[in-house]
Amino acid sequence: MMDLLNILMTESFWAASLRIATPLIFGVLGALICERAGVLNLGIEGIFVVGAMCGWMAVWLGTGLWGGVLVAALAGAFFGLLHAILTVPLGLSQHVSGLGITLFATSVSYYTYRTALPDVSSPPRIEPFRALDIPIVSDLPFFGPVLFQQTALTWLALLMVALVWYVMNRTALGVAIKAVGDNPDSVDAQGLSVYGLRMGAIVAGSALMALGGAFLTMSAFDAFFFGMVNGRGWVCIALVIFASWRPGKALLGALLFGAFDALQVRLQTEMGALVPGQVFLMAPYILSIIALVIAARSADYPRALLTPWFKGQR
């Protein structure tokens, strides 16, 4: 018991939680925007892979780190546009299209990587984002190391939480996105474009998702590996329900998952002799499922989620 308390008190534990949470923050925000507009985007897992691969490859080819971030976002937006065309004007099944995007995007990424580097045994490394060492505040006890030694991408994720919150709650655009996910007729009757809003939301949300992937290759690690996304996209799909489609709660959910994950790594080293390591690996997922079951009972789904809308049909 004391051990657990000791872990929770350490700076490195909370710093790790925030680091693990960062890609999830991007992913949940992206999924949140899509679903608020009424479209489920199961392409998220594949868009993470695309973002990870494209961001890394751009930097490796010499665009610079921020250039890589931009390339990752554009690549995510491209696959988002594909999903948007299939599900919005064409009105195909959002599940089928989303899973198709995941398979397609993942395979294309691996294919591109292999084609570009046919016979490399150990993946080439790039110089990743470094921790932003902000003078004075970095030296604050506890908060200094936890907050102020994260990389720029973590800061970007936190900024995005505030930005998405502001847009959703304080701008006409946010109101329109929420309305189109609840009742597209309400938007159409007021002369706004249902297709435009939905497709725009999917493209923007997918770009955010790709940044989650880019964080993996450009901040958490410094290279691209197969299987490195490892279900993070699916976790985001669950977290968005836990967050009841609210940016603030999305941040909380991502941090909780990050904390569970950071905790299990530490528990593995402390108690690895007693319990098999796989039990700890499972823990964050099991805890997310439990949290989700509790949260989802009262979940207030966007009413038009999964329902295609066609102009002139009512």
């Binding site: 304080r170 701008t171 006409a172 655009l173 109101v175 329109a176 929420k178 309305a179 189109v180 996910g181 609840d182 009742n183 007729d185 309400s186 938007v187 159409d188 009757a189 007021q190 002369g191 706004l192 207030d300 966007p302 009413r303 002139g312 009512r314």
Partner: protein, 516 residues
Amino acid sequence: MGWRQRQPNLFMTQSTALRLTGLSKRFGSVVANDDVSLTLEKGEVLALLGENGAGKTTLMNMLFGHYLPDSGTVEVADENGTLHPLPLGHPQAALAAGVGMVHQHFALAENINALDNITLGSEPLRSFRRNRNRAKTKIEGIIERSGLSAPLNVPVGRLSVGERQRVEILKALYRDARILVLDEPTAVLTPQEADTLFDNIKAMTKDGLSVIFISHKLREVLAFSDRIAVLRHGKKVGEMATADADEKVIARMMVGADTPKVARTEMAPGAPVLKLSNVSVEGRAKRDTLKSVNLTVNAHEILGIAGISGNGQSGLANVISGLAQPSAGTITVDEQDVPKPSPGTMVKAGIGRIPEDRHHEGIVGAMSVAENMVIERLDDPAIQSRGLLKRDAIQANAEKLAKAYDVRGPGVTAASRLLSGGNIQKLILARVFERSPRLILANQPTRGLDMGAAAEVGRRLLEARERGAGVVLISEDLDEILGLADRIVVIRDGNLVEAISHDREQIGLIMAGEPA
């Protein structure tokens, strides 16, 4: 202040606010509108009448740009009264020209508040800041002038139906609508709410607002419109000043022939056929919930259940048809307890069911008309022996019933979904009445039917009453209940209140939950 006290001379100078010329629209092989022309004067209330499928809503959707007409033009007057052609197929253009439409199914987002619903689309999407105060001031001014009030800061999902409708009208007025189109505005309101709505509308026309409202309730059309236009089969078949009209003339114009008045003879009620004692149903929503109700239906009696939709009608229908299990109380059919109600036991006990959603709960669309006619008595030895269906008997039965009940369509072997709504209802009537049930549960039996088919349903229910059956008639159309029922019970919030008389005002008050 208010629309009333402003100078009413605007409508004295007659000028045309809207002119539709030669509008036509086809959907596949169906002609929805055929060369319809219509004018609307400034400050006028025009009622657009017609049976279901006559093309009223299609016509208004073309005016508003939801549908693109195959031919014809729409001209709308600007502030100075000059007519300008409206680009067709663009709701945005209609809004800009001052046309506001309130749809029958509200076009409101329930997760945002009334203010956001009203301002949606009139604020630039690119702007990073909103001026909510200015919008709020403008809306409050409109509310003050029109008398249409609704809470602005609550998510629309929590507003009552009447409030939602007022939000819909406020949406149009916020866009400076000079022409307001209302598609069946009173379908979901109590009689009192409807009267208030029309009073407000009347007041606003004094300020130059022109109104078209779609309805098939003759009473309100005669009470509140200035002029009446009637559509039938997509064509305009008549137009008259309301002052010159009466129910009979309009009804004949709508149907194209005189509708036979349903004859109703007085009859002494017999023994109770259905008794609910302290029956409660715990539904998932208000419309499925009953709170310890008592109900007796006698032989030779039609019991009308009046009420605004969503007040427990589904719960009552489900418990009588056996679809819902009561959480408390007992059900007695013909003075026999039904210990474990299920659809099967209730049918065996002698209950015939005319369901609310005839397309989904009344028939199996993919199965043939003949199969649907026997689907509730598959254990009958006349229909099957040792599990094998007797196809000839089913066919003969279907042909006999189709003739007796005038079920028209592509034939009894065709899939039942190919029938029109009226003929599907006739199919269900045939199936139910052939079993001579002790009790008939008729849930919204004439909704969506034209007058001829509706009259037929009423005639069949009265016939069953004469034969000695009890009938539970659940309807949102108070006129239908007043015309058919021997006794009237009002359902409100899962409770039943017996109405002492057939007085429309009094029933309306009970529907609204006010102490009568």
